[in-house]
């Protein structure tokens, strides 16, 4: 039997002390599965067209800073055209179509997301910087599942608990963030379309590509023109969209700051509004927690998606009696995290989405050090190009520190302690945010007691960052209002 020269193995040398015994070879997912066009237009009335002004901007790969494509910059005229197309589609086609027919379009889209899953995953990782492991195993499957779930509601609205004949609102203007680009598009579009609304979607400035591919999929699925419109652009495009008089419903996911602006912008109009904003979730670990899994939950809570998660468990509230042990185990665990090329299947931590975000994270971590918290990161090699931040843990953090109050939106964990369940609740609730919380304990009654007392819209007990289209998601207070997912998620898009 012929044999290749074992030069690779022959070149192996015994590991130096401290070096890994077994190095995982690079395992890159191939870029070939997706073909990125040099330029994309806006998707309006069922076709792709340049912006009226002809303007465009580049979207880059944050892991390498390489430009991926140019996309159109939608201006006021484009927003007008898109809203008009959505209105006409609503009145003539979609708003009067039988729910069972609408359902079948959404099922088609869901199926395509499954068929082209690898393509979407690679594109998402290229445009966003997140590890392929996450886009492949979390983002894309959940996006498909969202379309499947809401497709099933389209012809069952009378059973949803909103009365015998709930009606859609009309044209929905939807602005989504860069942290889960395709998934956020699915969270917005699936329920809106299922309920009979038509949509104008504004993807984030730094991550437009999977939304544009989704538009292509909708075109291929035969979705009637104007039902979905995609306007790429920056913050000003979003502002135009949410304040357009032709829009009946505004849905926004993003920072609390911008959410408040939008709430002000729609004041005095009849526009319905739902907001999904920031958070500073407490991940609470008790002395009887299943420790090994709790450490995984902490890691998952703040380092999944590089911490770019509104519901991230960014404050570890650990019971003081076990704090040292938990932190030590956590630190040990962090040394096995692999940071690097998002397209490598073994990468755990990918790139920060933009220079802007990287600077913000840097600023807040410097503040943390200045405030007297102790900073620690596992040793890791940051690539030369691209935007990178090592997983970081601050211990000795107090409630009054900025890093305990402000959303960092990066891979930075602040560790605080508590003594009793009451104190855990008080500290967890001591924030204007209220999106999510985590509880780690072996005691069921304690989970349920805390769940009743925590002011958060999503509570994870002995798990973290679990999402499902059937499970409603949304926050209390300054984390926003309205829920996405589940039966409750329909309310945002019906006249109820």
């Amino acid at each position: 039997m012929p044999r290749q020269d074992r030069s690779v193995a022959a070149g192996e040398r015994p590991a130096e002390p401290g070096e890994p015994v077994w190095r995982y070879a690079p395992a890159p997912e191939s870029r070939d599965v997706v073909s990125i066009e040099p330029e994309y237009g806006l998707f309006v009335a069922g076709e792709f067209r340049p912006a009226a002004s002809g303007g465009s901007f580049a979207t880059i790969n944050p892991a390498t800073e390489e430009p991926l494509a140019r996309v159109a910059a939608a201006g006021r005229a484009d927003v007008d055209a898109a809203v008009a197309a959505a209105r006409s589609a609503y009145e003539q086609v979609w708003g009067t179509m039988a729910g069972s027919e609408r359902a079948k379009y959404l099922y088609r889209i869901a199926r395509q997301l499954q068929e082209r899953a690898r393509e979407f995953a690679v594109l998402e990782s290229l445009d966003n910087g997140k590890p392929i492991k996450e886009s492949r195993d979390v983002d894309i499957p959940l996006a498909a599942a969202h379309f499947f779930y809401y497709a099933g509601w389209a012809d069952k609205l009378e059973h949803a608990g909103f009365g015998p004949d709930p009606r859609p609102l009309g044209v929905a203007g939807q602005v989504i963030p860069w942290n889960f680009p395709l998934l956020m598009a699915a969270w917005k579009l699936a329920p809106a379309l299922a309920a009979g609304n038509t949509c104008v979607l504004k993807p984030a400035e730094t991550t437009p590509l999977t939304a544009l591919l989704l538009a292509q999929v909708c075109q291929e699925a035969g979705l009637p023109p104007g039902v979905l419109n995609v306007l790429t652009g920056a913050g000003d495009t979003g502002a135009e969209l949410v304040s357009h008089p032709g829009v009946n419903k505004v849905a926004f996911t993003g920072s609390t700051e911008v959410g408040k602006e939008i709430a002000r912008a729609v004041a005095g109009t009849d526009k319905k509004l739902t907001l999904e904003l920031g958070g500073k979730a407490a991940n609470i670990v008790f002395d009887d927690a299943p420790v090994e899994q709790a450490v995984e939950g902490i890691v998952n809570g703040i380092f999944f998606n590089q911490g770019h998660v509104c519901c991230a468990g960014s404050r570890l509230l650990v019971q003081e009696s076990v704090a040292e042990v938990v932190v030590e185990r956590l630190q040990r665990r962090l040394t096995t995290l692999r940071l690097g090329d998002p397209l490598d299947k073994n990468t755990d931590i990918g790139a920060i989405n933009s220079r802007q975000q990287l600077e913000k994270i840097g600023e807040l971590t410097k503040a943390g050090e200045a405030e007297g918290a102790r900073r620690w990161s596992p040793p890791c090699q940051l690539p030369e190009r691209g935007y990178w931040f090592p997983p970081t843990v601050f211990t000795g953090v107090a409630q009054s520190h900025r890093i305990a109050r402000e959303e960092i939106f990066g891979p930075v964990l602040s560790v605080l302690t508590f003594r009793t369940p009451d104190e855990a609740v008080a500290k967890a609730n001591n924030t204007p945010y209220g999106l999510s919380a985590g509880i780690w304990t072996d005691k069921g009654s304690r989970i349920l007691w805390l769940a009743q007392k925590l002011r958060a819209g999503v509570i994870w007990a002995n798990t973290y960052n679990r999402f499902d289209p059937a499970s409603p998601f949304g926050g209390y207070q300054e984390s926003g209002y309205g829920r996405e997912g589940g039966r409750h998620g329909l309310a945002a898009y019906l006249n109820v």
Partner: protein, 328 residues
């Protein structure tokens, strides 16, 4: 640009475990306090962590290295009622030279047989560096008196076994008679003399991951050199979540007791892909220090040929066929 701020801080001793010397009283009650005081295992979380690690993509030279490591960690096993000296002799020949067409294939770690065939195995692997492991203690059921079990061990040891794979009394464990299980392991440990002791937990019968964690600690406290998942006679045998719990246990035991205990997974591991997944678990849960036949073994029979086939594919670029590898 390298970012390494400070090494992991060593802090106060592990609060959930205890020094082995603390277990002076080995009564059921005392052991119960200790074992039931261990942190719980969340089954869903453990399963998810194992599943997440199964997505590690091990390719090219990393895969070749993994395959060679796995081969060197195999305990090539035959434990059938129909075993004969001929069968054992053939298996031992394979153990010494897994692939007659490729001398670069490493030998396996050990062969594993019933006590009455240890003598045959010893001769067959003489001067090869391959250890002879023997099952004992009324394998696989463990249902016999302590006297019978110890006699079983003594026969194996006097026949020359280098390693003894004992089974714990699962009935006693599930009935809460931890003291009895502890005492039996200690007695077998004594009877082993210089031979290494692997303690088979038979995790399928223990049913919960909490029990796997408790049985692991019980075995380690009683002096096990290795803890082993299964006899291979009950399904499911080794599973990734079970291995994860055991690997975490040996890691934590070293932190408290300063002694390294090995882990052996056995039963139902037929594909090289699965073997590599277990190596990933070892690497990322227990740590790279455990990636050696001294501390990690895979009990298998048909797995060896799949490892050889995958190795051949890595080296030649072509998928292999079963006819090109010897049955035994």
């Amino acid at each position: 640009m390298s970012v390494g701020i400070e090494s992991i801080t060593r802090s106060a001793p592990e609060r959930w475990a205890f020094e082995p010397g603390d277990v002076a009283a080995t009564s059921d009650a005392a052991l119960r306090q200790v074992l039931h005081g261990l942190p719980g295992v969340d089954q869903v979380g453990a399963t998810q962590r194992a599943a997440g690690l199964a997505t590690r993509s091990i390719k090219k030279d990393a895969k070749l290295q993994a395959l060679d490591m796995a081969i060197s960690m195999v305990d090539l096993t035959t434990l059938e009622g129909a075993d004969t000296p001929g069968k054992v002799g053939a298996m031992c020949a394979k153990a010494r030279q897994p692939d007659p067409s490729d001398r670069s294939v490493p030998p396996v770690a050990a062969v594993c047989v019933y006590p009455d065939l240890v003598g045959v195995a010893k001769e067959a692997v003489a001067r090869s560096g391959i250890a002879v492991a023997s099952v004992a203690t009324a394998f696989p059921s463990g249902r016999a008196s302590l006297a019978v079990k110890l006699a079983d061990v003594k026969e194996a040891v006097s026949a020359g076994a280098d390693e003894v794979d004992m089974v714990i009394d699962r009935g006693a464990f599930l009935a809460g008679r931890y003291g009895q299980v502890y005492a039996e392991i200690r007695a077998v440990r004594e009877a082993c003399g210089l031979a290494h002791l692997k303690v088979i937990l038979e995790t399928a019968e223990l049913a919960t991951l909490d029990n796997v964690a408790r049985a692991s600690w019980l075995a380690m406290l009683a002096g096990a050199d290795f803890i082993k998942t299964s006899t291979g006679k009950v399904t499911p045998a080794a599973t990734p979540p079970t291995a994860l719990v055991m690997l975490a246990a040996v890691r934590d035991f070293e932190q408290t007791a300063g002694r390294r205990v090995g882990v052996k997974v056995a039963g139902g591991i037929r594909a090289a892909k699965d073997a590599i997944r277990y190596l990933v678990l070892v690497n990322e849960i227990a740590g790279p220090d455990w990636l050696t036949p001294e501390l990690f073994r895979i009990g298998a029979s048909t797995l060896l040929n799949d490892l050889l086939m995958q190795r051949s594919k890595q080296l030649t670029g072509q998928y292999a066929g079963a006819d090109y590898f010897t049955l035994d």
